[in-house]
Subunit: 340 residues, 6 copies
C-alpha cells in the first residue's frame, strides 16, 4: 500500500551536453552536463509535486551510467526499476544542445543509437512492477527507438492496464527518429490501451491526417479510441527567448473542453522539457487527492510555462512554487515582486 507508485514511466535516460550560457558547441571549451529524457522529465516533475514515481529504463553499469542514476535519485524518482547493462560496449545516449537567440535558432544533435535501452525486454522486470502502480506513462519517443523498446512499451501498457492502472501516452513526434507513417501505425496500434493522450495540433494534422479545429480533432481521437482525456499544448514561439504557452484539455466523459489564459511573454531560459513538464502537471492534476481536469489544466499550464525558465531538461519546481505561479497567474490585484 504505502509503497505504491503513483506513476511509473518507461523511457530512455539521455546525457545532455550543452555549452554554458550563450556559447556555441563549435567553440566552447566546456559542456554543462545534465540528464534528460522525455519520460524521466515527466516523472521527476510529478515527484517534485509530491506523488511517488519511478522510472523504468536500462542504463550502463559504468561510471557515466552511475551519474545518470544519481540524477534520477536527485529528483526523488525511484531507481528500483533501472536495469544495469554490464556489456563492455554499454552506452548512454547523448544529445548536444545549444540555446538560440533571434535570428539564430537553438540547435540539437542526437547520438542515441545502440544505447543500453535498446536491449530492454519485459522479461527484465519482475511481475510485482504491475501490481503497484496507479498510472503508467510512456511516449512516442520510446516506441520510436526500436523494436525492443516498442515491444516492451506495448507489453507494459497491456499489463499495467490489466492491473487497473491508467495509461498515459504522449505522441511527442520526432521526425528524426521515425517517419510519420511508422509513427501513425505504431500509435494507432497502442491507442486502444491509452486513457490519457497528449498530442499536439500539428501532429494530429500532419501525422494522423486529422482535419478540422483542434477541438474537433481532440474529440475525434477520444471517440475513436475511447480515451478519457486528450490534451494539446499551444505554444507560440515569438523568438527563442520569448514564448507564449497554454493548452486545451478534452474530457470525454463530460464531453467538455478545459482551457485558460495562456502564459504570455515567458522569459525563456531553456525550453527543452517544457512539454514534459506540462505532462507532469496534467498527470499530477488528474492523480492527486482532489484531482480534476480543472486542476490538470492549471498545473499543466503552470508547470509547462515555468519550466522554460529553468536550465536543463528536468524541472525543479516544487508544489508550493507551482501553486504560487498559478495563484499569481489568476491574481488580478497586488503582486509581490519576490518570493521571500
Amino acid at each position: 500500500m504505502e509503497n505504491q507508485f503513483d506513476v511509473l514511466a518507461l523511457g530512455e535516460i539521455l546525457l545532455r551536453l550543452s555549452p554554458p550560457g550563450n556559447e556555441r558547441i563549435v567553440r566552447s571549451s566546456t559542456f554543462e552536463k545534465r540528464m534528460g529524457g522525455a519520460e524521466l522529465n515527466v516523472v521527476s516533475g510529478i515527484s517534485l509535486l509530491g506523488l511517488r514515481t519511478g522510472i523504468i529504463s536500462r542504463i550502463p553499469a559504468h561510471t557515466v551510467g552511475m551519474f545518470a542514476r544519481n540524477e534520477v535519485r536527485y529528483s526523488k524518482v525511484s531507481d528500483d526499476y533501472l536495469i544495469y547493462d554490464r556489456d563492455p560496449d554499454a552506452r548512454l545516449g547523448v544529445y548536444y544542445y545549444e540555446n538560440g537567440a533571434y535570428p539564430r535558432k537553438p540547435g540539437v544533435v542526437y547520438d542515441r543509437k545502440n544505447t543500453s535501452i535498446n536491449k530492454i525486454s519485459p522479461e527484465d522486470f519482475p511481475d510485482e512492477i504491475y501490481e503497484n502502480c496507479r498510472c503508467f506513462h510512456t511516449s512516442g519517443i520510446t516506441t520510436a527507438l526500436g523494436e525492443n523498446c516498442r515491444r516492451t512499451a506495448i507489453h507494459m501498457m497491456k499489463r499495467f492496464k490489466e492491473k487497473g492502472a491508467l495509461i498515459s501516452f504522449d505522441v511527442n513526434y520526432r521526425a528524426n527518429l521515425w517517419s510519420g507513417e511508422e509513427a501513425r501505425k505504431c500509435v494507432e496500434e497502442l491507442l486502444p490501451y491509452v486513457d490519457i493522450f497528449f498530442c499536439s495540433e500539428d501532429t494530429a494534422r500532419l501525422t494522423f491526417h486529422k482535419e478540422g479545429t483542434v477541438r474537433e480533432m481532440m474529440k475525434e481521437f477520444a471517440q475513436e479510441y475511447d480515451l478519457s482525456v486528450v490534451a494539446s499544448t499551444q505554444r507560440i514561439v515569438h523568438s527563442p527567448r520569448r514564448h507564449t504557452f497554454g493548452s486545451i484539455l478534452y474530457n470525454k466523459k463530460e464531453d467538455r473542453y478545459y482551457t485558460d489564459d495562456p502564459y504570455e511573454n515567458i522569459e525563456v531560459i531553456d525550453r527543452i522539457g517544457s512539454g514534459d513538464a506540462y505532462v507532469s502537471g496534467v498527470l499530477y492534476g488528474l492523480l492527486c487527492e482532489d484531482g480534476s481536469c480543472e486542476k490538470a489544466l492549471r498545473f499543466g499550464n503552470a508547470s509547462g510555462a515555468a519550466k522554460n525558465t529553468i536550465p536543463g531538461d528536468v524541472t525543479s519546481l516544487n508544489l508550493k512554487e507551482v501553486e504560487n505561479i498559478i495563484k499569481e497567474h489568476e491574481n488580478q490585484g497586488f503582486h509581490t515582486e519576490m518570493e521571500r
Copy 2:
C-alpha cells in the same frame, strides 16, 4: 577637516550567496559570493560618486568576516568603524538569492539571526565618531534586527543630530523581520530626529495607514515630523527581467515636488540593491558641492535604474558613468551606442 566623513551609515553586512546565471539554489554546484546590506549598499554607492563614507557595523573576526571587510574597502568605504566580534560563535548573516524569469519569481532565503551585529552597542564606538560627519544614514532593517541594534540606531541618530549632521532614514519595510505594527511604532519614535526620509507608497499606506495620493502622504509625513526631504521610489515590475523605475521627491521648505520621466523597460540583471542605489544617488545629490533636490532626483533615478543592470547588491557606477546615463536619459538627439 580633511578626514571628515560625508556620510556614515549604521547597518548589518551580509554575505549573499547566489547560484550563477540562471541556475537554481536547489541544484547549482556553486554559489557566487558577494557582500550586501542595505546601508553598506548606500554608502558604497555614495563613495563611488566621490564623497567620503564609512560603515558602522560589527562583524566576526574570522576569515569570512575578513572577506566582508575586504569587500567594504573595495568600494572605498572606510572600515574605521567596523567592530570585530572575537566570540567563537561570532557569525555573519547570510542570505541566499536566486534570479527569476517570468513566470518564475526571484526568491530569497534569510539566515540572519544571532549575527555579530546583534551585540552592537553605542559604547563600542569612540565619541569622535559624532564629530566628523555631515550625514548619518540608517534604515528600518537595522531597527528591526533587535533591541541592541534599535537602541544603537536611535542613540546614534540623536548624537549625530546634536553634532549637526543630517539624519537620513529609509523605512525599507520587511515583513519577515517585524510586523507592521512594530515597524510603525519604532519609526514614529525616531522620525522626530530625521531630516531625509525615504518611504515607498505601499509602506506609507499599509504600515503607516496614510491615505490619499503619494504626494499627499509625503507632504503629511514632512509636516508631521518636520522632515526636510521625503522621497518615494516608483517601480513597475513588468517581469523579473523588465522594470520601470522613477521617483518623486518633496522638499518641505520649498513646498515643492520634484519628478522626472522614469527609466522605462530597464533590462534587469539583478534588482537587489536598486532601492539602496537610489538612496545613494539622492544623498549624493543633496550633499555634493552644488547639491540640490533637482540633482538628488536625477542622481537617485539614474543610480537606482542603472543598479538593476549590475550583478550583486552593491552598485559599481562611478560619477562619470552616472552622469553619462543622466545625459543620455535627457538627450533628445544622437545617441552613441557604446562608451568608448
Copy 3:
C-alpha cells in the same frame, strides 16, 4: 523485511562552502557548495558500498534545505526520517573550509549554532523507526550540539538497542563544540549502550585520560563497557597534501587485534570526511553478508585512505572501486595504471 535498513544514523546535515581549487576564503569570488556532516558521510559511504541506509535529522523546509535533501538522495541515503523545520527562522548549519598547502594549514570556520536540528526530539519520529534496522550510528558531534540532540541520541541508542540493533558510536571529539570534561561525562554515560566504538589515540589519552599503548587503551575501553569492537585510526600528516592512513581494530570476544599496512603517501585532495569514510568501511565490513573484523579493517582503511582523494565531505567510491583499491594495495605483482 525487504525495506529493513542496514544502518540508520542520527546527525546534523551541514552546508559546506569552500573556495574552488587553491583559492582562499578571504578573496575568492565563488564558493563550491556541498553537503556534509559526520553521520551523513558515514551512511552515504555505506550506501555506496551497497547496504541500505537512512539519515535521521531535522532540516529547514526552505530551498536551501531542499538542496540538502537532494544531496542526501543523491547518495542513495533514505530521506524518510528527515524532519522539515517550517519555522521562518529555520536554518541549516554552514561551515566554511579552505584547503592548505605546506606551510599553510587548511582552515575551517563553523556557523552551526541555532540550527534546525537543535529542536529535534525523539517524539518527531514514529515507533516503526526502531523496528527496522540492523545498526544505529551516531557520533560525539551530535551529542555535543546541545541538550535536545544529546537527549535524542541517548534515547535512540536505548530504543534501537532494545530492538536488537547494534549501536555504533564515533567519539569524533571537537574542542570547539564542547570541553573535554563535558565530552568525557557524556560519552561515559552512553558507552554502556555501545557495541562498536571509534576513538582516536589522542582522544583516548587526552579526553578519557587513558594510559598505555593504543592497544592497551582500546582493550581497556572494551572491557570497561562491554564493547564488541573498538577501532582507532592512525593518520600521519606529512603535509596538507600528503598523509599516511591506517588503523587498528580490537575484537573483544576474540581478544584479538587486527591491523594491516597503512596506505602511505596518499595524494590528498580533500581530507575532510576521511575519518567518516573509515567508519563506513568498517561498518560495511562488519555488516555485509560475509562480514568480519578482517573485512572491516580492509574496507575501513581503503575507504578512509581513498576518501582523501575525493573533493567534498562525502565519499563517492562504490563497492567495485573500493575492492579494486584493496586488491591493488595487497598486490605484490603487476599494477595496471588506469581503470579502463
Copy 4:
C-alpha cells in the same frame, strides 16, 4: 590555381578581454579571452561560408602571439602571411570590453599602441602574395593605426589592383584612432583604388561632409571614385540587448539600389563584430560562384544580424546556418522552432 585565395585582408589582430556574462571590468575575477580585429572578423566570416581566405598581419612570436595564431587557424583563415615579431618588446594589442544593459551602455577600453603591426612593411611579404588572390580587403582602422600601416595598406591596394584583384574597403571610422579630417584625407587618397566600399550614413555625413539621403550619398561616392558597389548598414539600437539590423547596397553599373526587410528585434548577446560579419556576408555574396548584389544583400544582412547573437568578435556561422536564417527570414509560412 587550387591555392588561390578568394580574399586576403590586411589588419591588426587584437586580444579581447571581457568579463564573463553580465559582470563588470572593475570587479570580475576573470576575463574571457578571445581574438578580434575588424579584418580578421571579415575573413573568418567568409571562410566559414566556404571561400578561401588569409590574414596579412604582424604579431608577436611569444606565447600570447601563438594563441592569436591558433585562433586564426581555428576559423580556417590561412596564417601563411602572418609575420612574427621577435622583438623582446613585441606586443599584441589588447582591448577590454564589457556588455551593457539598458540604461547602462556597453563599454570598451583600448590598449593598442606600439603593437607589432606598427612595424609592418610591404617588404615583409613575398611578391607571390599579389598573384594569388581575387579580392583584397582592409579598413579605415588599419589606415588609422599609423604611418607604416597606412603606407602598407595603400601599397597593397595598388599592387593587388594591378594584379586584377577587387579592392574592398570599409571606412569603419573610429574617433579614438584619428580625427575626422585625417580620416577624410586618407580615405580620399585611397578611394581611387577601391571597388567595393562600405560606409555608414553617419560617417558619410559627418566625416565626408556628404549631404542628402543615404541613397544620394552612396551614389555620389560611386560616381566620384568609380566604385562598383557601395554598401551601408542601417542599425537601430533599441537598447543594448535589442537591435534592428538591415542595409542598402548600390550597384553603380546597374545604377540600382538593393534593400530588404531588416531583421527586427534581434536578441543581442554580443554586438561587436556584427558590422564585420555584414562585410563578410556581402563579400561572400559577391564572390561566390553564383554571386550577385542580391545575394550579397541577403548574406550581408543575415550574417550581420545573426552575429549579434554570438559571443566574441568573430562569427561562427557556417554556410548552412546562414542559409537557414535567410530562408526563415523570407519564409511566410510554418517555422520550426529548432535546428534538429
Copy 5:
C-alpha cells in the same frame, strides 16, 4: 613540392569529456571538452615542432564534428583529408576520463562503437594522397576498430610504401578493443610494411610472446620484419601524480641501441597522450632536417615526459619549448627557474 606532407596519419578523432580539476564523473556538473585520438595526438605534436602534417579520418558533418575539425586546425594539422559523414546517425566517438590520486587510479569509459570512421574506405581518398608524403603513421588502435579501418590501414600502408614513404606503426595494444590473439595476427600481417615500430616491453612479452630482455626483443622484431627503428618507452608509475619516463631505441642498420637518463619524478597533470607525444618526438627527430636516432631519442623522451604536465590529450609544446626542456635535462650547471 612545397605542399608535401612530412607525416600523414590515419586514425579516429574522439571527443574527450573530463570533469574539471579533481572532480569525479559521477558527480561533477560540467565536463571539459577536448579532442583526442592516438594518431591525431601524434601529428599535432609533430606540427607543433614545425613539420607539416595531416590527419586522415572520417567525422560527422554536424556541429560536434565541426568542433572536432576546428580542434584539428588549431594544432596546424591539415584537415584536407577529413571526410565528412552526412548520415543522420553519424557519430563521433566519445570517451570519458577522470584523473586519479593515490590510492585512487584514473578511470576511463569508452563509447566509440559505430562511429563515423567505421565506414571509412580507401576509396574515400584521392590518389594524390600517396604522392605527397614522407611518412605515414597509424596505430594498433585503428586496426582494432573494425574491418573497414583495418582494411584501410593496411591498404594505405602498402600504397604509401610503394610511393616511397616511411611507414610508422605504434602497437598501442588496448585489451578493451581486441584480444591479444587478434592483435598479434593483425600486427604480424602488417609488420612487413613497417619501418619504424613502437612497441612496449609488456606488449612484446604478453601479446607477441617474445622472450628475453627488452633489448633482445627489440632486436628480434627488427630482424624478423626488417624494421629500421624499434622504439620502446619505459614508464614507472610511482603514483597517479608522479611518473618517471624514458625510452630505448634500436637502429637495425647500425645495430645500435640509444638510451638516455629518464625524466624522473614528473609532476603529472594529465598522462593521457604522453605515449603519443613520445611518438611525435621520435618521428620529428628522425624526419627533421638534421634527423638522427640520437635526436629522435631526445625529442621523444622530452615530448613524452613533458606532455604529462599538459591538460588534454594533445601536447602544446612548440620546438623552442621542447629544446629548452632537453637543454635543461642535460644541463649540469645553473638552472633558471622560469621561462621569461
Copy 6:
C-alpha cells in the same frame, strides 16, 4: 601623527593574466585577472600584518585602472598617492603568467612598456608625502623601467631620507628590463641612501661582481655603503611545485648574522611574489612595535615560504596566520592538522 604611514612604496602596478589551474596560455579560454607589482606586493603584505602602508604610483583613469585601484584598497593599502593618467592612450602594464610542472617550467610574457607610470614625476606628489612616513621602499624594477621612474625613485629616496625615514631597497634584478651593467651603475648610485638592502647571492655575484661566501658579500655591501641591514633569500627549486625557502640577514651595527632552518618541501601553488612577501615580513619584523632582526628573519621566512601556497602575486596572510606558521615551524611537539 595618527595617520602616519609605516611604509610607503614606489612602484608599478601590473595586471597579471593567467590561465586557470594547469591550463596553458596558448589554449585556455579564460584568464584569471589579478594585480601585482613588486612594491605593491610588499606593502600589501605589510598591511595584512597590521602596519599602515601606501603605494605611490601612476595608473590609467579608465575602468581597467579602476580595477587596479580597487585591488589596492582590497589589501588595505592606501590609494592616497595614486595618480590618475587621463591620457586617452594611458595604459596599465600587463603580464601573462602560466604555472609549470616538472619538466615544464613556468613561463611569463611581459607587456609593460609605455605604461602610465613612465610619465611619473616627483612633482606629481605633494610635499606632505615625505613628512609622514617611517620607511620608504622601492626596488630595482622601478629604477629599470625608465628615466622618469629612476629619477623619481632617487629623488624620493633622498627626500624621505632627509625627513628621517628608513630607506629600503630590493635589487630584484630582471635581465629583461636592463643589462647587468646598467643595473650595477644605477644601484651603486642610490645605495648611499639605503638602510635596508635586499640582494640575492646570484645578483651580488653576477651583477655586482662580488666574491666570497654570501656572508662575506653581504658584509662587504654593508660596509661599503653604510647599510643597517642586508638580507638575502635562499631558495632551492626542487621542481616547479616543490621549493625550499630560507634566508640570511646581516645586521651591521651588531656585526651579526641571523639565520634559521629553512622551510623545506614547500607545496608551491604560485611562487610569484614570494620574494616580495619575504621583504614584507622582514620590514614588518623591523618596524613593528617590538621589532628586531630576529623577528624580521622569522616573519620574512614565514611570509616568503607561505606566499608560495597562495594564488596570485599578493599574499593574503594576516598576522595571526603568519604567527601560527612560525609557531608551527618552531614546534617540536604535537601539531594540529587544521586551523579550526
